[in-house]
Symmetry: C2
Subunit: 518 residues, 2 copies
């Protein structure tokens, strides 16, 4: 298994000669990182051909009969009219087949570049790229409890992402830095991703000028020509379900698609509230919405990279709260994956979803349900793959490292079964025979280091040892791991000129306008 | 969804007339129960045809070249010699094809009867029957911590099983009643299952006479003729991996198969210790062992019902402890399901496995990983489906109800997607349209009660409410649910004559021999 590569994060020290180098070697923290998942197992297909055809036909009917609204966006309405849609006021109705035809120019797979080329990710095909939680206004940790997130928290989460070996992507709004002005925080967030991590990241989507800032800062980091010719950001464009495309999200899609930067086009659905209460009804709506969103991206720029997104949760009919890890969400996630593959588009769904307020058993059941289904539904880009708590209101430090550890399970499961002669292990069976044991046999000795996925977090000690050490639960073990990872964090090397230019851009932009908190 | 049926557990009171009946109706505890799962989704097939053929050929090679040991069992050796095997000492080598040929008489599916015919289960095909944890010498609860299990605990767990709507089977050794003599505890255990539950149960396997007691007590409960003609017990026969069939387990298999009672024939494997360290190697050994065990059952009585079992865990190469919820175990579970289906046998694997000492996040991640994979691997009988803690050393009260709640997720996921006109929900999409919401629409009103699986345990309240109520974690919520379920428990009605005869059998058997604690 070559899925994990070690590298000394203090490379420059290690390159010194002689005794100093050896000392550095001994003290350097080794940071491991895994390549994105390349599945070697099949997806789970829960819908048969007939069901898929019904949903596709229904989605076309929705687009033709009901249509969608493009709100406060005359330019979009003009584009749709020109493309052949029936536009009445803000309502856009698409003749059958139009959206699907426009979607055909979207690539089935694309490379998102990182500033460290070893961290580039290919999104699409059989791959799965894992990115952390996105959006929570609160953070929680064992010592400090639940509180509003700050830019200091944001930087901590970016550092944890850089240090998490099974995480391929630095993400976007890993938490909302509520202590920075709303009109300026995107600058600090981008700056953190660009300097504290060398993994790929997401751009701002909250206002047109902030998308432009994201591209400008990327040009400083990657070089102007490089950004013109390559995709260096994947950003999150939510659809305001049902069937509504709001102007801020469309601003983001327009800016990014025009610049050949990737967008996830994602219905944001609480089933029963923003979509029908049934799975097939929700899938119909998801497909209709994504078809329009992707088609619109291709009206902006044919060939612009986009991802078929589906954020799905059910509603608790008693409290009205969203629920996670439920079977209906699983069915939608699996079905939407089939629809995305039939469209030939990369697929985003699932995540470390849970409704629990604490990183406890509820959180873990709900999360594990969703992570497993996410893997098996063919997801290509999994946002929220670690750190999500309390229905997305909270980024949890402890849950971040718990989830990030579990992402290793997905890597190994997806790798499939080794059927080589060594994998078949007939020598071991012959050597040991009836009644023996395999611990000391040659085959075990040759393979034991890489044979099993290994947690960096969970406890397998004998009961007595564990009890004497304080009978710690998983959240306490996780708190220690957070502390260790932040303590060992070292920033990836960055050209000092670029570093300075980024800081200068941020400072200049911040000074240009007064703070706004709305 | 008709998957859940309510019934008043105090049926006799409710049958009274007039005002008394209405009062009884209002106060009666309604106990829900779900039919076993009939899958309407595909299994996940991770091995291709070539890989399956390699493993099958390797298993035949193992049986021919290496063979298996039948320890202290001259009768078995004689049976094997007569069947055409090469017997040298205790070693039995099977020519290629012999085991598979003998397996052909085993049924692909069978009915295990319960004393309440509504609780009968059909084991095989696309069905999944869920049974609780088996075997732990300890119990744990939030109030009392970890302690040796007693017969009082045993009875509590049987009551919880009777009250758990997603559990189809009362199980067997739900914990070891360590306060009862080893040579008598099987009597108390069977008595508890037979009187406190009306779900199907398992027989004793720890000594030949105890298997006979299990059958005799079943004859009291079901009637002698009924037991002669029907399967009323499914019992657990472990193989002493690698490749060893010990005399106690073979005693059990011989007694039960001869009486047409079902056995799970199950390699008990800690990968790296009792089997090769690789997935394909372990699958080869599992298949070889099960082929021999099932073939032997058919030598005893052609047509005897048996289940292809696979208990698999990996080993933590640092501590030597077994690990759970790991990707290697998932791959073995999935692959063994494919092998079982190709043999045309019912399949037993998976469970609420975890290595954690507490019902915390580790426990839940590991458990949810295994439950999901168990569903998707085509398991027909899932032992340990709830209550398992600390690598099987502990039956946890809280985890029992947590896991049992999650089993509802499996039911709904397995039911597949409703593609009826109502399921398609086009009326809802037409009624609501862009920008609306679905909460009040006719389709939601007509469907909301059954639209979503609903937890009986987890918390979805707003943060503030939850905080004011004491900020309880899942284990605290579960402790309250345990208390509630035990408080509401009512024994299912049983013919007083049968009740008396069972008590008499137990008393007489207990009086006949002195206590033994070994």
């Amino acid at each position: 298994m070559n899925e994990v590569v070690e590298q000394a994060s203090s490379g420059r020290r290690a390159r010194g000669g002689g005794g100093a180098a050896r000392r550095a070697e001994r003290t350097a923290v080794r940071v491991e990182f895994a390549k994105y998942i390349e599945r070697n197992i099949p997806n789970l297909e829960i819908l048969n051909e007939e069901a898929l055809a019904i949903i596709e036909a229904n989605a076309e009917t929705v687009l033709e009969e009901i249509g969608v609204n493009f709100v406060d966006n005359p330019a979009a309405l003009a584009r749709w009219r020109e493309a052949g849609a029936d536009v009445q006021g803000e309502r856009v109705r698409l003749p059958k087949g139009l959206a699907r035809k426009l979607c055909a120019t979207a690539p089935s797979s694309f490379v998102q570049h990182a500033r460290n080329p070893e961290r580039n990710v290919t999104i699409g095909g059989k791959n799965l790229v894992l990115a952390p939680v996105y959006g929570p206004p609160f953070v929680r940790d064992l010592a400090g409890g639940r509180r509003y997130a700050t830019i200091a928290d944001f930087r901590n989460f970016v550092k944890l992402g850089q240090m998490s070996k099974w995480l391929h992507h630095s993400g976007g709004t890993v938490c909302e830095p509520t202590d920075v002005a709303v009109n300026k925080r995107h600058l600090d967030m981008l700056h953190a991703h660009m300097t504290l991590s060398d993994k790929p990241f997401m751009g701002s989507v909250t206002e047109r000028s902030r998308c432009v800032d994201s591209i400008e800062m990327s040009k400083i980091l990657f070089g102007e020509d490089f950004v013109d010719q390559n995709t260096v950001m994947t950003s999150l464009v939510n659809i305001n379900s049902p069937l509504t495309f709001d102007p801020i999200m469309m601003d983001a899609l327009e800016v990014y698609a025009a610049a050949n930067q990737a967008c996830i086009i994602s219905p944001f659905i609480v089933g029963g509230a923003m979509a029908p209460v049934t799975v097939a009804g929700t899938l119909t709506q998801v497909l209709a919405e994504v078809l329009v969103g992707v088609a619109y991206s291709q009206l902006i720029r044919p060939g612009a990279p986009v991802i078929f997104g589906a954020f799905v949760t059910s509603i608790d009919m008693n409290s009205g709260a969203p629920t996670f890890g439920t079977p209906e969400a699983a069915q939608i996630t699996l079905g939407a994956g089939q629809l995305a593959r039939r469209l030939g588009l990369p697929y985003r769904s699932a995540g470390a979803f849970c409704g629990s307020k604490l990183p406890d058993a509820q959180a873990a059941y709900e999360t594990a349900n969703t992570l497993n289904i996410g893997l098996l539904s063919g997801v290509n880009f999994m946002l929220h793959a670690c750190g999500w708590l309390e229905g997305g209101l909270v980024s949890s430090y402890e849950k971040y490292v718990m989830d990030a550890d579990q992402l290793g399970v997905l890597h190994r499961l997806a790798a499939g079964v080794d059927m080589s002669a060594n994998g078949q292990g007939m020598d071991a069976l012959r050597e040991v025979g009836p009644g023996g044991h395999f611990l000391g046999c040659d085959h075990t000795q040759a393979n034991f280091k890489s044979a099993f996925w290994k947690t960096d977090l969970f406890d397998y000690k004998p009961f007595e040892t564990w009890d004497e050490e304080g009978a710690r639960d998983t959240s306490q073990l996780a708190a220690r791991r957070v502390e260790k990872m932040l303590g060992e964090y070292q920033a990836p090397a960055l050209d000092p000129g670029i570093n300075e230019a980024l800081a200068e851009y941020v400072a200049k932009k911040k000074a240009a306008v007064p703070d706004a908190f709305l």
